[in-house]
């Protein structure tokens, strides 16, 4: 494993992208920072720009308008990076399958830019914060 990947697994900086989510997953992601869950003790930090991120936390089914932005954000994110699909919508469109304004799901949109993208899935509606932490930790251990 190269040193970049080792550094990523030690302390992962994440950038949150909302691609048409109802906000439940987004709120649970922000909840991770609050005292009850406190992910900073795992070295997980929320950053303000994709250029500083090791991982993208993507929520939402991927609306057509947001898909454009997601592709751009993915291009700008430093590689190597992991794309976490948080929530049922991001994993597979969920209840929004077949809707006219959805371009998703997220892995399809990201793989249009990079067919070899590393994608991890955390299902749930919304996934509980414990599930999100577990998902991130497990995925990083598996890489």
């Amino acid at each position: 494993m190269n040193w970049k990947m080792w550094a990523l697994k030690k302390s992962v900086w994440v950038f949150h992208v909302n691609c048409g989510a109802c906000n439940n997953c987004d709120i649970e992601i922000v909840n991770l920072l609050t005292p009850k869950f406190d992910v900073e003790r795992f070295g997980i930090k929320l950053v303000g720009s994709p250029r500083h991120a090791d991982a993208l936390l993507v929520t939402g089914a991927g609306t057509r308008q947001a898909a454009v932005r997601l592709r751009e954000v993915y291009r700008q994110t430093a590689k190597p990076c992991v794309v976490f699909c948080m929530g049922a919508c991001a994993c597979g469109m969920g209840i929004f399958e077949g809707a006219y304004h959805i371009a998703g799901p997220i892995d399809k949109i990201v793989k249009e830019v990079d067919p070899n993208a590393i994608v991890a899935y955390v299902p749930g509606c919304p996934p509980k914060p414990e599930a999100m932490i577990s998902g991130v930790v497990k995925a990083l251990a598996a890489i």
């Binding site: 609306t63 057509r64 308008q65 304004h101």
Partner: protein, 146 residues
């Protein structure tokens, strides 16, 4: 105002309506042709001081309908103006945005998803469909499949 007084005052625009329907004591529908929608809304908003809630565009098989929903918070009565646009080929209706700033977005939305044109709308540009969405495809029309 009280329900009884509201019911009485609504009759002042009866001449411009083609009917009044009541599905419950506090749910009134004022039916009209699209040409009369502005003066009726003016009466409800300015004269009776009802609150604008939102508008609904409907693709009813033989025509388009634009429903402007108002409410009288004093008695909890919802008064909906149901305007019929008979021309299905190029549906048009007067905009109520010059009267109510809060109607701007919903008229733009109805234009996006149903293709109804709002005359005299100050800013009738795309609102909720994405930039690449093809012109002329109106997702909420019945002919468009999901």
């Amino acid at each position: 105002m009280k329900q009884e007084e509201l019911d009485k005052r609504l009759l002042e625009v009866e001449g411009q309506l083609i009917g009044i329907e009541r599905t419950a004591a506090n749910r009134v529908y004022l039916l009209c042709e699209s040409e009369n929608v502005y003066p009726i809304c003016l009466f409800l908003f300015d004269t009776l001081a009802l609150r604008f809630v939102i508008s609904t565009g409907v693709d009813a098989e033989h025509c388009f309908e634009v429903l402007h929903h108002f409410t009288d918070d004093a008695c909890g009565c919802m008064v909906t103006v149901k305007a019929f646009i008979r021309d299905r080929e190029s549906p048009e209706i007067e905009s109520i945005t010059p009267l109510i700033a809060g109607a701007e977005w919903i008229e733009r939305e109805m234009h996006d998803i149903l293709g109804i044109k709002f005359r005299n709308h100050p800013n009738l540009k795309r609102l909720i469909l994405n930039d690449d969405w093809p012109e002329g495809v109106y997702p909420l029309r019945k002919e468009v499949q999901r």
